[in-house]
């Protein structure tokens, strides 16, 4: 059966714009073409970036590098302390920002009744997303270090990171909350659930996708941040325990990368760290998705 027969048989209303069918076919072809093309561009970029980093980085990523700390005397580079520092910072800042961000989003979407307040908070969150990390770094230094008297270290760094990632978490969570049909909420409330119970059992599980997306973007920001950490978490390349690192200058992987690349011109180490960061991001993404799904099921 050919297409022509299919279309000839099915034409009853003839009051159509003459060229419309042609235009419409064209529209579809063009749209699809554009979708493919842009995706191809994106995929090309992805492959290039990822490939470039892996090719230049993996060959320099050696076991000793991963498991030792740098020594100036022996002139070796080891990034084990930085791996730990990065993990500490992810841990601490997510522990603070995730509940705060989800809480704020839930407040905005489920509880708030005062429009003006909502607008204010949303506006604040949006403003935060646009502030350059260097400004966060300066403010973080001023507030956490000069005002609160913390020392440069993981704690001050993580607190600064909280400011940076909070809006991302708020916005993405809020978006997914918005997309949940009211039918579900009404169904739950009509059964006599309290508001919080409804949020916990029906709303948050359905919003899990957005929360995971937000967390992943947030982790990405944490992992990729350098400017804001230079002034707050510091530069230290030595290994510390979690507790000690809180108040001791501790470079994250990205800060270390920045130092090696920009002060010493050690491109190789830089790419090695970048490749490692990518592997870490990948791992964390899988973890976030996995736990997200798990929570959603519950």
């Amino acid at each position: 059966m050919s297409k022509t027969t299919a279309t000839t048989t099915i034409t009853t209303n003839s009051d159509q714009v003459p060229f419309f069918q042609v235009r419409r076919k064209l529209y579809n072809i063009i749209v699809r073409g554009f979708l493919r093309l842009t995706t191809l561009v994106t995929v090309g970029l992805l492959i290039f970036m990822i490939g470039y980093i892996l090719i230049n980085g993996l060959k320099h990523l050696t076991i000793p590098m991963l498991t030792t700390q740098s020594s100036y005397i022996e002139d070796t580079i080891g990034i084990f302390p930085n791996i730990m520092n990065t993990l500490y910072m992810i841990l601490i800042s997510m522990l603070i920002a995730l509940p705060l961000g989800i809480g704020a989003a839930v407040y905005l979407n489920e509880y708030a009744t005062n429009r003006r307040l909502v607008t204010t908070i949303e506006f604040a969150a949006e403003t935060l997303t646009g502030i350059p990390s260097i400004v966060f770094g300066l403010v973080g230094m001023l507030v956490f270090i000069h005002l609160f008297g913390l020392k440069q270290g993981v704690l001050a760094g993580s607190l600064t990171l909280v400011m940076i990632i909070l809006p991302t978490i708020i916005r993405t969570t809020q978006e997914s909350l918005k997309s949940i049909p009211d039918d579900y909420r009404h169904g739950s409330l009509a059964l006599g659930s309290g508001k919080w119970h409804m949020v916990r059992t029906v709303v948050l599980p359905s919003a899990m996708d957005g929360i995971v997306t937000g967390s992943i973007l947030a982790i990405g920001r944490i992992v990729g941040e350098s400017a804001a950490l230079l002034f707050t978490a510091g530069f230290g390349l030595r290994l510390n325990s979690l507790f000690k690192s809180l108040q001791r200058s501790s470079a994250s992987l990205t800060v270390a990368l920045y130092v090696y690349v920009s002060e010493r011109g050690e491109m190789e180490a830089g790419f090695a760290i970048a490749a490692l960061l990518m592997l870490i991001t990948l791992l964390l993404n899988f973890a976030a998705t996995y736990f997200g799904n798990k929570l959603k099921k519950r």
């Binding site: 169904g187 739950s188 059964l191 006599g192 659930s193």
Partner: protein, 249 residues
């Protein structure tokens, strides 16, 4: 009188959707609400368990008394109120969870955790809603994969599982075939020994078959409210007569 409505007015923004409704609903009886589409039946039903609170553009005046308490009293515990006044919505709205979890949702909310007890509640509710046979082998499957009518019965079962005092049903049988409808009607008739039922229906036969009282709404007004038999045999208002004889509009 379990419910007592006094001079209730409701606006959706500037659309005056309920006008001066006053109405008493007797305990342990079935009260039917009838009237043409868009006349305010769902709107009225939702004022009885304060579901209208959720719509920010709604403004309400007047009083609704439940068991001697004004439910619009700011001190009212809305959660508790809704637990006692259950509701089945016009559009079936199962949660995106398994069939089992949908039914167990209410009991769990109210603190029942024991597996055996939950199992028993779920089974009873599904049986009462005449859907047990169709789903007993797929309780763990998502509720959204059910057919339209199955979803509606699921929602009835979900409301029953909480054992409310009053059950508000918004066209709960409209998507059902005669057999399921018959079963639900039977259920409702039995329920009235323990519960009070207020139901919206488009089906006059159904109203005649099972309701004790009947209220006729038109353009947001309560035109006539009396014994079902009286209303259908000797309506006092011309408009009621026109509507029930199908001569209306």
């Amino acid at each position: 009188m379990i419910i007592n409505v006094q001079k209730l007015n409701l606006w959706y923004a500037d659309n005056h959707a309920l006008k001066d409704i006053s109405m008493d609903v007797p305990r342990n009886q079935i009260t039917a609400l009838i009237g043409p589409s868009g006349c305010g039946k769902s709107t009225f039903l939702k004022t009885l368990n304060r579901m209208q609170d959720l719509n920010p553009i709604v403004r309400i005046e007047g009083e609704v008394w439940y068991n001697g308490n004004n439910i619009y009293d700011p001190k009212m515990d809305v959660t508790d109120l809704r637990k006692h006044i259950g509701m089945v919505f016009q559009k079936a709205n199962p949660f995106p969870m398994s069939i089992y979890d949908n039914i167990a949702y209410g009991p769990r909310t109210h603190g029942i955790r024991a597996r055996a007890k939950l199992d028993a509640i779920v089974e009873k509710a599904l049986k009462d809603a005449a859907i047990w046979d169709e789903v007993k082998d797929r309780l763990r499957k998502p509720a959204l994969s059910l057919s339209g009518g199955q979803q509606q019965r699921l929602c009835i079962a979900r409301a029953l599982a909480v054992e409310p005092d009053i059950l508000l049903m918004d066209e709960a049988t409209s998507a059902l075939d005669p057999i399921s409808t018959g079963r639900i009607e039977e259920l409702v008739t039995q329920l009235k020994k323990k519960y009070t039922v207020i139901m919206v229906t488009h089906n006059m036969q159904q109203a005649v078959r099972i309701s004790d009282q009947c209220a006729f709404f038109l353009l947001g007004e309560l035109i006539e409210y009396s014994d079902t038999s009286t209303l259908f045999s000797t309506p006092t208002d011309k408009r009621t007569e026109d509507y029930i004889t199908g001569r209306f509009g």
